[in-house]
Symmetry: D3
Subunit: 152 residues, 6 copies
Amino acid sequence: MDDVTRPDTRYARGLRNLAAIDGEAGQRVIDALADIAPDFARLVIEFPFGDIYDRPGLDLRSREIATVAALAAMGNARPQLEVHLHAALNVGVSRAELIEILMQMAVYAGFPAALNALFAAKAVFSQRDAAGPDASGSDAALRDGVASGRAP
Amino acid sequence: MDDVTRPDTRYARGLRNLAAIDGEAGQRVIDALADIAPDFARLVIEFPFGDIYDRPGLDLRSREIATVAALAAMGNARPQLEVHLHAALNVGVSRAELIEILMQMAVYAGFPAALNALFAAKAVFSQRDAAGPDASGSDAALRDGVASGRAP
Amino acid sequence: MDDVTRPDTRYARGLRNLAAIDGEAGQRVIDALADIAPDFARLVIEFPFGDIYDRPGLDLRSREIATVAALAAMGNARPQLEVHLHAALNVGVSRAELIEILMQMAVYAGFPAALNALFAAKAVFSQRDAAGPDASGSDAALRDGVASGRAP
Amino acid sequence: MDDVTRPDTRYARGLRNLAAIDGEAGQRVIDALADIAPDFARLVIEFPFGDIYDRPGLDLRSREIATVAALAAMGNARPQLEVHLHAALNVGVSRAELIEILMQMAVYAGFPAALNALFAAKAVFSQRDAAGPDASGSDAALRDGVASGRAP
Amino acid sequence: MDDVTRPDTRYARGLRNLAAIDGEAGQRVIDALADIAPDFARLVIEFPFGDIYDRPGLDLRSREIATVAALAAMGNARPQLEVHLHAALNVGVSRAELIEILMQMAVYAGFPAALNALFAAKAVFSQRDAAGPDASGSDAALRDGVASGRAP
Amino acid sequence: MDDVTRPDTRYARGLRNLAAIDGEAGQRVIDALADIAPDFARLVIEFPFGDIYDRPGLDLRSREIATVAALAAMGNARPQLEVHLHAALNVGVSRAELIEILMQMAVYAGFPAALNALFAAKAVFSQRDAAGPDASGSDAALRDGVASGRAP
């Protein structure tokens, strides 16, 4: 068993957290880096997901609220905002709560940032609806299972 | 009773929410606007605090997590970040949780944004400590009373 | 007659200003919000257009110059920049003046921001030309009628 | 007479425009560059003031409205915002109009950007008031003389 | 011979530098401005390429490293980032070095900025590969010829 | 010997790189985090300095050019810009080259960003001059020793 796949390494923890939080969307980003910057793919798994999201001091629901708010306010990271709107739904933030968070960004980053983020949310919700009742039902299912603890 | 102070107006609701959330720090901002842009002072109370923070769809703890994350990530609003670090403590986010949120911003907005926000937090925590045991004790007291609902 | 459509409410004033300034482009944004964040559609009408653009202290021509400059300089709000390039033409800023404003942004926000904004203007001018002589003629027509006062 | 001071060079035109628009505040920036980047001092005079502000297609009042709006919205250029608040007053934008422009930025760049810009305006107005009745009276005097044309 | 094409004018120098650095990609930007803002096309050639890139105090390799890093960190100038990824390859920065620079931006501007820039690099590398062995071979060829001096 | 101080760990490598690159300025940042976010101090050493700056694919001179350009362009990280202006001098970038890099940022991020960065450089150069001939002489000394390789 090598250093990278030992279950207690940063990489292994990061991979587990990435799967639990970002799901397929996160994995697609990692795959797209494979032929151009494989070391960066590893660092994405190790630092954000192995170091930061793995820390016990803040629940994942709060972490995703913070991330969605930051990406919406920055206004120049649409692909990452979509990944984390999925992630927020995956860890138990409801669609209605996401809309509230994005509306609130109008106060801090202006109406254009809020509008563009709301249209990103509209696209994400449509993707999940198109994926069928199971997928969209899983918003609520996950909510019950995840909201109280950290990652599944 | 005129339109502005009727308890059910946006202004009256906003003033109540401002007091509950931002406390003295918020009021100082409003006061500082009085001689240069009194209409803007009114709009700050009416729109962010009367319209947005008054909405029932998201608890105040989540709202302040979103605001602190956004202001830290934007990196150009130090005075407002300090006001909302106070506000987050006022509505039940703990100091340790704030540190986690600001550390996480290194992932999305870079290490300088996270560092500068952490030093803003250091300044805010010192202010509260300097205000004596009652004030600093009130972090925890408020947490018990406020975290589950909206504003006191 | 309910509260929202009474001619003297913020909503009614905002709707009137939105139609006069942003025209169809503004209405399309409002419509696109209907199924995901109808309350935000209402707030867009009430706060920017009912509260801010309705204020008497600054003519609409100056307001649109300020908005176009800000959106070009921020560089992350292309859809809103296009809406307000239309709006500026609607309230009497000429195409040549818009080009000057966007060129000037190279000084404050850099050449990439200016270039991207100029290409947005190129797209907007083409849309208006494609809409036929009446629409493009209306740039000048509106200029005569609107520039001196506030909204028609 | 050398190339730099010939009255028809970009440098000479820029120097004239800098004096007319930014006044002493602009000259102080140029002076402060002398010992570290004198070539940049020359480029500041030649490009923004010799090339851009010298163009006939847009009046100086509109140019300063655009600049103040952009700097307020960007939110990370306080010294330059102060210089151009002075400049806007110098070319005929009134204090009340400046307040309107800055308030409007809350819509596009968020309330923190607007607040911080309003406090910059408060500082600039105080400086002008402290400089005595002549200096502050000159806001209006200049307005009458300058607003219709370009630079004095 | 008129003022614009004399070999010693800023315009002529800028045109030479633009061709050497940005190649066809730069020329396409200039061409696209022709019908909307021809004066700005001239200023792009004169100021960035005639004034700045022409200065002897910094080699072109270092200049392009600085530009690519800045555009990646700002995160809102994808077209210009692609032009300067080509330019960096043209003046002798290797693909592997560009990947390192973009990865490093995760530290200062966050992972989304680094990721989006890496995907821009992926697109640029593909364009050069699709242009055939000569074009992609020229990365290395140019490196040998250019890296030590300034522009060819 | 525990995990953190083993000479081959990310932390040990990061600490070595931090000392070689940022010198005392970097250590002061780490110290200032000790009482509020000690884990973040560790992550700053491990990720930027242990993971990124330790990679062999790009020389330190190029890394610091990229960092200084990015921080100047972002315009909201003055303390970090000062640290990395020191760092750039420490690894062999000359004062004259730094001025060129910062002037070039006027093209991409606007004149205010370039001006504010140039004034940061002025402050850094003064600090080094005030520290006496040895310290300021060490700019050149370090240049000879470091520029060709990676860290001393």
